[in-house]
């Protein structure tokens, strides 16, 4: 079986979204609804807002908070997951607490977090980190636990030292699950980024959207929502590249079939 070339794949993925945008653009041109302005107006607002000062005022702070929040979640999640996996007794004790904190919707913790960390960007970062840490932590823990016992046995019998054990055995072995956790955390992070900005903030895309809505700047509001959709999509796409690199040792499905067929 031949793989579809990159270009063909791109065309195959893009033709429908492009068609929808074109239909939307011309179909909405005569719209008189105050809630659903023509796409041409939304697009003009989009260009004015996001290719102008709005980029520095709103997009940069939002994405900076997201990046810091996810970075904290990644370090804490992988680190704590690793430690808990290496000390099973601690993991047993911690388990009910983990399940409890994970079950709290991060948005519900926002008021408390903003009291502790203040309403500056530290509060946003803390909120994103709090929401995004759980999938990474639990997937790291579970990923290390589910490493094949015979691999752990080999590591033990060759007396592999702890730093090597962590970097060459435990983390790569858990990586297929850690990457799943990160993907979930990415989505949660974007939700909390927007939510926390809507709740209390003086900048950011979420703040922009809520202010636009409250001042009946409907085209601006839609332009913010559109931007958030694009950001989410691009993040996911970019993360796919990172994920493929992290798991570059895994056989692609068609390669594995070819080897088995030998």
């Amino acid at each position: 079986m031949k793989m579809m070339s990159g270009l063909r794949l791109l065309v195959w993925e893009l033709w429908l979204p492009i068609l929808i945008v074109v239909v939307w653009y011309f179909g909405s041109e005569s719209s008189k609804s105050p809630y659903f302005p023509p796409l041409s107006r939304i697009w003009k607002a989009f260009v004015d807002n996001w290719f102008g000062p709005g980029f520095v005022h709103d997009v940069v702070p939002s994405l900076t908070n997201l990046a810091f929040g996810l970075a904290v979640a990644l370090v804490v999640g992988v680190g704590a997951g690793l430690l808990l996996a290496m000390f099973p007794l601690a993991a047993d004790i911690a388990d009910p607490f983990l399940q409890f904190f994970r079950a709290i919707p991060a948005l519900a913790v926002l008021p408390a977090l903003f009291i502790v960390f203040g309403t500056g960007s530290t509060g946003n970062v803390a909120a994103i980190a709090f929401g995004a840490v759980w999938p990474i932590l639990l997937n790291t823990l579970d990923g290390i636990r589910s490493i094949d016992p015979s691999i752990r046995l080999v590591a033990r019998s060759y007396r592999i030292r702890t730093p090597l054990l962590v970097t060459q055995v435990l983390l790569p072995g858990a990586m297929p699950q850690i990457t799943v956790g990160i993907r979930t955390s990415l989505a949660i992070g974007v939700v909390i980024m927007v939510g926390s900005e809507m709740y209390v903030s003086t900048a950011g895309i979420g703040h922009f959207v809520i202010v636009a809505q409250q001042t009946f700047a409907i085209a601006d509001m839609w332009s913010g929502i559109l931007l958030l959709g694009i950001i989410g999509y691009v993040l996911n796409l970019g993360y796919g590249v990172i994920e493929r690199w992290l798991l570059r040792w895994q056989p692609r499905t068609h390669d594995a079939l070819a080897v088995k067929g030998n």
Binding site: S150, L153, V154, S157, I160, L164, Q168, Q250, V259
Partner: protein, 269 residues
């Protein structure tokens, strides 16, 4: 050569009164009173029915499991953890390789973090892979190799580690007959060239006689040492002529009858 002689007087592996019971004093007794002394450079096979405790025995010798009674001495020193001079090749090929490390890195991993220069590591890795006939496979991932080739990588990893004692738990159980014969001969060649001590578990009687200086037969519940069969075959062994040698057939018959007797007289505790 007096130093060699005095070293030779200390057994490479010594088991005394080794017993294993799972699940406390009232639990299931698997092994009882195993006494065995393996001289340096000797190759000894352990045979017995499947499930009799052969793998348990090998895990005890590898320092991966604590025996309930008795002790294991490697080069005269009682062990309670995996000793540095010992390497284990376990039975399920493929899985014990780290799928995320290329073949060369799999072989290198046990050599890292021991203060061994990178250059020396590289030499040992490429030497070991060349010896098992996989000189060109260092950059491949394990899944790109066949089962037999993956088992060769596991053997190469053990060789690169330069153990004094090589433990093998049914190392050729999952490969096809042709590969199996090749790996058996490879093991004999390596063992002769490097002078390492080999303890190998198998359920294949022909294999045990073909490879061994001595065959240890385990039998009964709990498993006791039923018999130790000396295999006085001299000179290089060969898949065709050795296996047709009357001496080979005699040894094989002795091992087989010991296994069958162990089944009949299995004591019930």
């Amino acid at each position: 050569m007096s130093s060699t002689e005095s070293a030779a007087s200390i057994p490479a592996v010594e088991l005394s009164g080794l017993g294993v019971t799972y699940g406390g004093p009232t639990g299931r007794e698997v092994l009882r009173g195993i006494d065995l002394s393996v001289a340096p450079g000797e190759i000894v096979c352990i045979v017995g029915h499947s499930g009799i405790g052969k793998s348990t025995l090998i895990r005890c010798i590898a320092g991966l499991q604590k025996p309930t009674t008795g002790e294991v001495r490697i080069a005269g020193i009682a062990i309670d953890a995996p000793p540095a001079t010992l390497a284990l090749v376990s039975q399920d090929y493929g899985r014990p390789l780290m799928p995320w490390l290329r073949v060369g890195e799999n072989v290198r991993l046990p050599l890292r973090g021991n203060g061994l220069a990178r250059k020396v590591q590289n030499e040992r890795v490429s030497d070991a892979l060349a010896v098992v006939g996989l000189g060109g496979a260092a950059r491949s991932y394990p899944w790109q190799l066949s089962g037999g080739m993956q088992q060769r990588v596991a053997i190469a990893r053990a060789l690169a580690y330069r153990p004094q004692v090589l433990l093998m738990d049914e190392p050729f159980a999952s490969v096809d007959a042709q590969t199996r014969a090749e790996l058996e001969d490879l093991l004999l060649t390596l063992q002769r060239d490097l002078g390492i001590t080999v303890l190998l578990v198998t359920h294949d009687v022909d294999e045990s006689v073909y490879l061994s200086d001595r065959v240890v037969v385990l039998g009964g519940t709990p498993a006791l040492m039923q018999d130790i069969v000396d295999v006085p075959l001299t000179g290089a062994r060969d898949q065709l002529t050795t296996k047709a040698d009357p001496l080979f057939i005699e040894c094989r018959t002795r091992v087989l009858s010991a296994i069958q007797q162990s089944k009949v007289v299995a004591p019930v505790s």
